[in-house]
């Protein structure tokens, strides 16, 4: 079992002030954030969602957040899961092409329409589609929407995943993985800022 990943990524050392806050005040949240990580990245049964795909999504998502150290953490695990240099290069190219600012998106037509904000709908480039394969290429388009404009989500994006060979179970796990990372990355970023001010 890995050491607590949030502590590792946030640079929280055993015995430090923030270690004490996390362990004494919110021990259950700390334990289960780690169990969430373990269940997503070292599951008892990987089902229809291979470890290489899980870490590839994590590298892409950390890259979309501009979080270099978190991205490197997942790159190391993606390499251990057997990624080729071509796959890593394709993910980097997609991060460069896809990074933007969020959250944006549209509301149901009505009083909130004035708050609709436009932004890109990401499509994986043809030259990267081959290295990623159809499953990951379709997943990356969904992941980009979840990261930057989740309020634009609609059934066709899920159906595209199912059509690319993802099962319903695997789509649920992928959704959890992307959503969990949105949490983990923010906790790490927040705790780092707090640690620097302690």
């Amino acid at each position: 079992m890995e050491a607590d990943v949030i502590d590792t990524l946030a640079g929280i050392a055993p015995g430090s002030h923030l270690d004490s806050v996390r362990r004494t005040r919110r021990a259950v949240a700390r334990e289960h954030a780690q169990k969430s990580y373990d269940s997503l990245f070292a599951p008892a049964d990987t089902g229809g969602f291979a470890p290489l795909e899980r870490f590839a999504v994590a590298v892409f998502e950390a890259g979309l957040h501009g979080q270099a150290a978190i991205k490197e953490f997942y790159v190391a695990r993606l390499r251990s899961a057997g990624a080729t240099d071509a796959l890593l290069a394709a993910i980097d190219a997609e991060i460069a092409a896809a990074a933007t600012k969020g959250p944006y998106g549209a509301y149901p037509k009505g009083p909130l329409s004035g708050e609709d904000t436009q932004g890109p709908v990401h499509r994986v480039a043809g030259r990267n589609r081959e290295a990623l394969g159809p499953r990951l290429a379709t997943a990356f388009e969904h992941v980009h929407m979840l990261v930057f404009h989740p309020r634009d989500a609609a059934p066709p994006s899920l159906q595209a995943m199912l059509d690319a060979g993802w099962t319903t179970d695997a789509v649920v796990t992928l959704s959890q993985l992307v959503a969990f990372l949105s949490f983990q990355i923010r906790v790490v970023a927040g705790l780092r800022v707090l640690a620097a001010k302690s």
């Binding site: 269940s39 509301y107 001010k197």
Partner: protein, 201 residues
């Protein structure tokens, strides 16, 4: 055999942020209540959640659901020190307002109003958005939640200073970070796996 989404039609689509009760309609098939395994039932943590399409859908991956739920409950319900419950809910409602999760915002605006008794301020946040002027303490919590929710994350030392200025200690600041971050998790599930509709009265 390719799986299919579950199209929803004929329902009313809420077009404003509200504290009213909403229901949630799934876009993927939940596990049927009478076909849940023991592991899936245990992953709900609260047995009553077997009535919820949302939780029975997430029960397709029970280990992740259970860990998610126990993380959620400790961040929001643990009464030991830190931020008052009302203000953890304020961070959740703010995050949901900015991401645009009408369902999540309805639930956590209700909790924020109930625990704070500041219904007018909560309604102002829902109506005007995250730029609403509430009071100095709530503005600092809202601004920190916004900075944590934006991508790239814009949370910085100035947010810590502002939170300390209005009386938050490090336990409370960790609660703001946890609550806003957790709703970036929750919002993405609720927004992307289904949609809200007014609760049947």
């Amino acid at each position: 055999m390719t799986d299919k989404t579950v199209p929803q039609s004929g329902h009313v689509v809420p077009a404003v942020f509200t504290r009213d009760m909403l229901d949630w309609l799934p876009w993927l098939e939940p596990v049927a209540a009478d076909r849940m395994t023991e592991r899936q039932l245990a992953s709900l943590v609260d047995a009553a959640r077997v009535k919820s399409d949302y939780f029975r859908l997430l029960a397709r991956d029970p280990d992740v659901l259970e860990a998610r739920t126990r993380t959620d409950k400790d961040i929001f319900y643990n009464p030991d020190a830190g931020l008052p419950r009302a203000e953890r809910e304020l961070a959740a409602a703010t995050t949901s307002r900015l991401n645009g999760c009408i369902y999540c915002a309805s639930v956590h605006a209700r909790f924020a109003a109930t625990y704070s008794k500041r219904t007018g301020d909560v309604d102002k946040l829902l109506a005007e958005g995250v730029g609403a002027d509430l009071d100095k303490r709530w503005n600092a919590i809202v601004a920190a939640s916004v900075a944590l929710t934006e991508t790239p994350i814009s949370f910085g030392p100035q947010h810590i200073d502002a939170l300390r200025d209005v009386g938050l200690d490090d336990d409370a600041i960790v609660d703001v970070i946890n609550a806003a971050s957790f709703f970036n998790w929750a919002n993405r599930l609720m927004l992307s796996l289904g949609e809200p509709t007014p609760a049947a009265s």
